[in-house]
Amino acid sequence: MDWQAIGLSLRLSFCTTLILVLLGLPLAWWLAQTRWRGRFLIEAVVALPIVLPPTVLGFYVLMAISPRSPLGMFYESWFGQRLPFSFQGLLLASVLYSLPFAVQPFISAFTTIDRRFLEASWCLGESRTRTFFRVAIPLAWPGVLSGIVLSFAHTMGEFGVVLMVGGNLEGVTRTVSISIYDHVQALDYHTAGQTSLMMLAFSFAVLAVTYSLQRRFVHAWPTR
């Protein structure tokens, strides 16, 4: 079994999820609260990766980060490194690709919060930030958890985008799904089967734990 690829996938999923929580929670909160009329446009952009084939996303990402593109040039002059075929490049692609899987559950969780709780907190003199962390997040917790788990699991299972932008570098961009694909291509069905079985067990375990936790949380904090 390709432990290096498994480790890399876990690291990529962890970093992607972390970034998505940091970016996604404020974005989802804003989308859930705003009365701006153009809101649907942002929602459509966020949801695009669900509809777009990974090949489209991968194709555009590779063009966008190539050293000839403005973004690629900027990154290279700033960091002295290049984005294509690097962990950072893959991370950028993963964040884009998993964005809706984090943000959409966050939004639906925030919109189900009874607004009176928030207003009560503001009236009691709590700041908007404190209200967000001490009232909104605990109330929206089951949805936030699903967003975290979904984006983690989705990144673990990502294949098309990685194939398009990764360049298959051992320990840098060769994730589990790519490693399985390589083993199949090299007719090493035994190793491919082992790693696949491990992925199946892992995915099932993650989802089972999440659903059981979610049930408990929903009972602990009824949103209505």
Binding site: L62, M63, P67, R82, P84, F85, G167, N168, Q185
Partner: protein, 268 residues
């Protein structure tokens, strides 16, 4: 039942019973056209497209459709009874293995070409690849070098063998990035994501690529001969049509077209 449901039901029945399929038994202008499905290695894309156009013209009774992809993928699919009639692999070992498993018609495997590899740089690069030859891989401006995955792609294996033989492999090894197949490798370089790479001559000579870069052919003696081979599948419902296409590819004109697109003849 509303209209859409009826349409869907109709489609489902068509799909299940195969009502769009023509009988595939006879050839000739009066008979319904025979359908021929070809699984071909990605490096054949341009050469075979051109050959098939001519074949269609001279054999109006045969409708030939090509799927391009990785030879290893097709190998696995054919083992699992994929509905192809003809398999043109970039590595003759795959059809040989299938023939050994009794999946080839009359146990027949044929070589049709020898693949060639080149170092390719995009036009935007300042490098004189034709003068520098293999040493262009060592240029200080090169950060990433794209090759096909040597674990399973024939062109990747050849690229690694050639770099070892020419004594640059150890120096360039940390800069290598791997394309899934030779066409993706070309895309990596063409897009600028990699600076230089080793691809098939057949792709470097393709109209889409020729104007966008320049290449240097790697001496054929520096890597093992890349014998490309094919076979007709035992399961084909139209062996006559498949043989007609195979003979067309192997005849003098077919060879000339393959040569124009950067392949050596099989006995080279």
């Amino acid at each position: 039942m509303n209209l859409i449901q009826r349409l869907l039901a109709g489609l489902a029945i068509c799909a299940l019973t195969g009502c769009d399929r023509n009988p595939r038994s006879s050839i000739g202008p009066d008979a319904a056209p025979v359908e021929l499905r070809i699984a071909a290695a990605a490096d054949l894309k341009f050469a075979l497209d051109s050959l098939i156009d001519e074949f269609r013209y001279s054999h109006p009774g045969i409708q030939a459709g090509v799927t391009y992809g990785s030879s290893g993928n097709f190998f696995a699919q054919i083992q699992n009874e994929a509905p192809f009639d003809l398999y043109l692999s970039a590595d003759i070992e795959y059809p040989r293995k299938l023939a050994a498993a009794d999946l080839a018609l009359e146990g027949d495997v044929f070589g049709y070409a020898i693949g060639r590899i080149v170092v390719w740089v995009p036009r935007t690069s300042a490098m004189e690849v034709k003068e520098l030859g293999i040493r262009s891989l060592l240029d200080s401006s090169v950060k990433k070098i794209a090759i096909a995955n040597p674990q399973h792609a024939p062109y990747g294996k050849a690229a690694v063998a050639a770099m070892r033989e020419l004594g640059v492999y150890d120096a360039v090894q940390p800069k290598l990035v791997l394309g899934e197949n030779i066409a993706q490798t070309a895309q990596f370089i063409e897009s600028g994501a990699a600076d230089i790479g080793i691809i098939a001559l057949s792709l470097a000579l393709a109209p889409e690529m020729e104007a966008r870069g320049s290449h240097w052919e790697i001496p054929p003696e520096s890597y093992p001969k890349m014998e490309q081979g094919g076979m007709i599948l035992k399961s084909t419902p139209s062996p006559e049509a498949a043989k007609a296409l195979r003979d067309f590819i192997l005849a003098a004109h077919g060879r000339a077209v393959l040569k124009r697109y950067g392949f050596h003849p099989p006995e080279y």
